[in-house]
């Protein structure tokens, strides 16, 4: 957001602008169609009719990174796939967020070997970690709501907070 950073703190105008911008960003955050392994099944389950992600504005997953805001890394990332993940992340326009879904994306999961990247945060910066193998759709929705709460707290300066892990409580909006 260029104008606001140049104008500085305009008091109530800045606060209202932050409110509107963050409202727009959270209510229509489009995920990238990016299921890698088993966690993709739970992500599809969360997207489906029973646990509906459309009610959070994620009506559709965009296949093109140029048109998406959120990358849910669902599944284990192999060392062969890591440059591809990084390239897709670089192709996403700002503002963008990353959810590391599942144990393999968070820390390597059960795979402690030469072939699997031990945590996707070695490749892309992560905002929210969702634990589980695989996390239930409700857990993924909990992670998405944590991300929405984090985006609500974002300031015009654009500097991001530290990644959220499960120790922090869910912030009521």
């Amino acid at each position: 957001m260029g104008i606001e950073e140049k104008a500085g703190d305009l008091g109530v105008i800045t606060t209202s602008l932050e409110y509107v911008v963050n409202w727009g960003r959270t209510n229509a955050m489009w995920p990238l169609l990016f299921g890698l392994a088993c966690c993709a099944i739970e992500m599809m389950g969360a997207q489906g009719a029973n646990y509906d992600l459309s009610r959070f504005g994620m009506e559709l997953n965009r296949a093109s990174p140029r048109q998406s805001d959120l990358m849910i890394v669902a599944g284990r990332v192999s060392r062969k796939m890591a440059p591809v993940v990084r390239r897709l992340y670089d192709q996403m326009p700002e503002p963008k967020w990353v959810i590391a879904m599942g144990d393999c994306a968070a820390c390597g999961g059960v795979f402690n070997s030469y072939a699997i990247v031990q945590g996707v945060d070695e490749v892309v910066p992560v905002d929210v970690y969702v634990a589980g193998c695989p996390p239930r759709p409700e857990a993924l929705i909990d992670g998405i709501m944590l991300l929405h709460a984090k985006v609500w707290r974002e300031k015009i300066s654009g500097r991001k907070e530290d990644p959220i892990s499960l120790q922090q409580p869910l912030v009521r909006m």
């Binding site: 402690n112 070997s113 070695e122 892309v124 910066p125």
Partner: protein, 172 residues
Amino acid sequence: MDTPALLDLIATRLPGVALAADEFRGDLRITVRREDLLALARLLREDPELGFTYLENLCGVDYLGRQPRFEVVVNLVALPAARRVCLKVGAPEDDPRVPSLTAIWPTANYHEREAYDLLGIVFDGHPALSRILMPDDWIGHPLRKDHPLGEEEVAFSFNQERIYAHKPFAKE
């Protein structure tokens, strides 16, 4: 045609090719030399009485500490006759080369690439032998018994500061 008859038929057509033969759960297993592999494979595919047209599996084995160290195991199935045969070809460690079966069964293409990628067994006559599972610039053959596992120390709450200080996290 049961297993002894099958072995006799092969011995009649190609005498002396079977170094060792036994039966496992009703199926014939033959150990052959790598020089005889192509002739035996062509016989098994093209002979009208045999007709093993389906290569079900081709994989490599690493017997570390045994001579020869590597072995290529080929499972063949004759679908109309419902028969299976298993060929085993040994390859020593200093010269892990085995003739390629791609010209006879085209499906062997990917199987041989996997055996080359993971074990380092080179298949002579393969049209395009390259890595298939590991990244193209990977050094080493992961499924060899002397390849390191590449494990990382698991981070718990009591040691995570020390581990995360050295972990290469991505910055923006």
